[in-house]
């Protein structure tokens, strides 16, 4: 038979596929993100009640030029992604000096921008009514005077 696989060739392929499927099944039912790449597919796997709140983190900064600006929390601004800051927020709350690393990264990555003198992490809260945004508030979470 042209292009046929030996019994052994089929056996290891089935075993490998079975093992990966089993790992994915385990990760999906019982695991969490730690099991990457076998963890559950949890993108957008949470419910927001129709009258709930939408929270997002934002980074504000005072600059040496005397302005207050919003800095995108992106690798090409501060070296990390917004979701990474959100994922480690409790660590930042406990140790605000970690924000110094973001300021250092900003100075390194964007040397042409005004120097940042103070960083403020803000939670923007959008309150929903019947699944539509009704009003917005900003809550300051932590701040750090850049050294």
């Amino acid at each position: 038979m042209r292009g046929g696989l030996s019994r052994q060739g089929k056996a290891w392929r089935l075993a490998a596929a079975g093992a990966v499927i089993a790992a994915l099944g385990y990760g999906t039912v019982l695991g969490d993100d730690d099991l990457f790449p076998f963890g559950p597919m949890v993108q957008y796997a949470f419910s927001i009640p129709p009258d709930g709140e939408i929270k997002s983190l934002h980074l504000h900064a005072e600059t040496a030029a005397g302005t207050r600006v919003e800095i995108p929390i992106e690798p090409y601004y501060v070296g990390i992604r917004r979701a990474e800051l959100e994922g480690q927020l409790s660590r930042y709350l406990a140790r605000p000096e970690l924000l110094q690393g973001l300021a250092d990264a900003h100075a390194r990555i964007r040397p042409g921008d005004p120097r940042l003198t103070k960083l403020i992490v803000v939670t923007k809260v959008i309150t929903l009514r019947d699944r539509r945004p009704a009003w917005t508030t900003n809550v300051e979470r932590l701040s750090w005077v850049v050294r």
């Binding site: 392929r13 499927i21 927001i48």
Partner: protein, 287 residues
Amino acid sequence: MGGALDRWWFAPVSPRRVRILSVVVYLFLPLDMILFTGGVWGNAGNPSGYRPVLVARLLHLPGANPALVYALFAVVVGAALIAAWGRLPRAAGYTVAAGYLYWALLAMSYGKVDHDHLALVVALFVLPTAVRAGEQAAGWAIRCVQIAVVAAYFLSAYAKIRHGGWEWPNGATFQWAVSRRGTFFGEFVASLPGALLVGQWVVLLAETAAPALLFTRGRVLYAGVGFFALFHLMTWAAITIHFLPHVICLLAFLPLERAAIGGKRARRGTAGQPATVVGDGAVEPVS
């Protein structure tokens, strides 16, 4: 080994489909490593943020640092280009698979795990197994990529109910997505009454039905693939999430071997009929 199971896993596929898919995947990798998992470059300067995921801990993989990141990038991209060129396809292919897995582990070990890389990682590991191994080996490799694509959809539907509860489709999760990262187009869709609510139901039902891709063929299959491609296009337009590493693996469902690429005509059966392909008609092995 059961006959039906055997035919389903090892349905002969033209090795040309594997070859074309390999070229697409290998040429895509540099783009991915610069743009989509490009966070690794930034992580190199953030040693205190390293929170290795389980596999990285088990293998004692060190976190990102500038020398490592440059070297890993060079090895993976170099091997990918060699494999795409068709030289040392097996050795270069496995090098890419292992190197890229390390890269992906680094990308997911700084507080945020993405879920659009399952099919790509699976493809990188199975494609080299089909090198010069015949049509059944090609069939298995393609089948694995297809299963990974379908699994990503189906398992995410499961996860939405597991973590979000049965109220997920009637909630405001899509409004959450648009509010945080919506584009002009996304804000427009959100302003249409009921559009996001209908969208949530459509997505949940489509993801649940995705395994049908593994058991349909011809126009129904292509319509299904087209639907998911359109879904990713809409998602990208609305909230700039593109899922491209996953999307290119949708190609495994298409009869790529019929495409005339590089001056080579698609191989045809003796009676002028298209060669047998997975999910496209006959599943009886050619004897």
